[in-house]
């Protein structure tokens, strides 16, 4: 059963990777990285149970606590409204 869930998570990570590569805007990439972060947390938790030593959940906890720091940092730099370094926005919608 853990096998089923972990393969689903791997598939979802692969899909997120496709989205991160295809873009088209930076926001899509950040979103994909964010989703892969969540999935990694779940993956690590399930791996702990799979190997029979679930006490190593600290790794997953670290991710949950600090993964959105990088999201904030990217938005800080990229977001012209935030007033720090106003770089122009590239991805201008799809199609």
């Amino acid at each position: 059963m853990f096998i089923a869930v972990s393969s689903v998570i791997l598939i979802a990570i692969a899909v997120g990777l496709v989205r991160a590569i295809r873009g088209p805007s930076l926001y899509d990439r950040v979103l994909a990285a964010n989703m892969i972060g969540t999935l990694t947390v779940l993956m690590v938790a399930i791996l702990g149970f799979m190997t029979g030593r679930p006490e190593f959940l600290d790794i997953a906890l670290v991710y949950v606590l600090i993964s959105f720091v990088s999201t904030l940092a990217v938005l800080r730099v990229h977001n012209p409204g935030a007033g720090t370094t106003a770089s122009s926005v590239k991805g201008s919608g799809e199609q």
């Binding site: 190997t51 029979g52 030593r53 190593f56």
Partner: protein
């Protein structure tokens, strides 16, 4: 078949290593070069940790009723190497920032052109 799969980890590590190496030598952008080095060093980390793995083993934290553990020594080496690697990457990025301030560009080709003009 097992002959092939037995080295799968190492081969992927080498592909990753070469990806980083390619970025470093083929791309003129200095930030890209630093990221190439980052990929290269992560591939070395994976290589060491792959060596440390023992079939059927578990994390090297001693517990009652477990007899097979993975090799802790590469873990120690890589644990410190990751933090040192980040510190040195930061140093590289700081150099990139200063180069940008001095030359106005982080493209290696443009920097060479400017150097020749001087």
């Amino acid at each position: 078949m097992s002959e092939l799969l037995g080295h799968y980890n190492y081969w992927i590590v080498i592909v990753l290593m070469m990806t980083g190496f390619y970025i470093v030598i083929a791309r003129p952008n200095l930030i890209k070069k630093v990221i190439g080095l980052f990929i290269f060093q992560t591939s070395v980390f994976i290589f060491f940790i792959s060596i440390a793995k023992v079939e059927g083993g578990t994390a090297p934290i001693i517990e009652e009723g477990i007899s097979v553990y993975s090799n802790p020594l590469p873990h120690v080496l890589i644990l410190t190497a990751i933090v040192v690697g980040l510190a040195t990457t930061a140093l590289g990025l700081a150099l990139v920032v200063r180069i940008r301030e001095a030359y106005g560009t982080i493209n290696e080709d443009d920097i060479h052109v400017q150097d020749e003009e001087r």
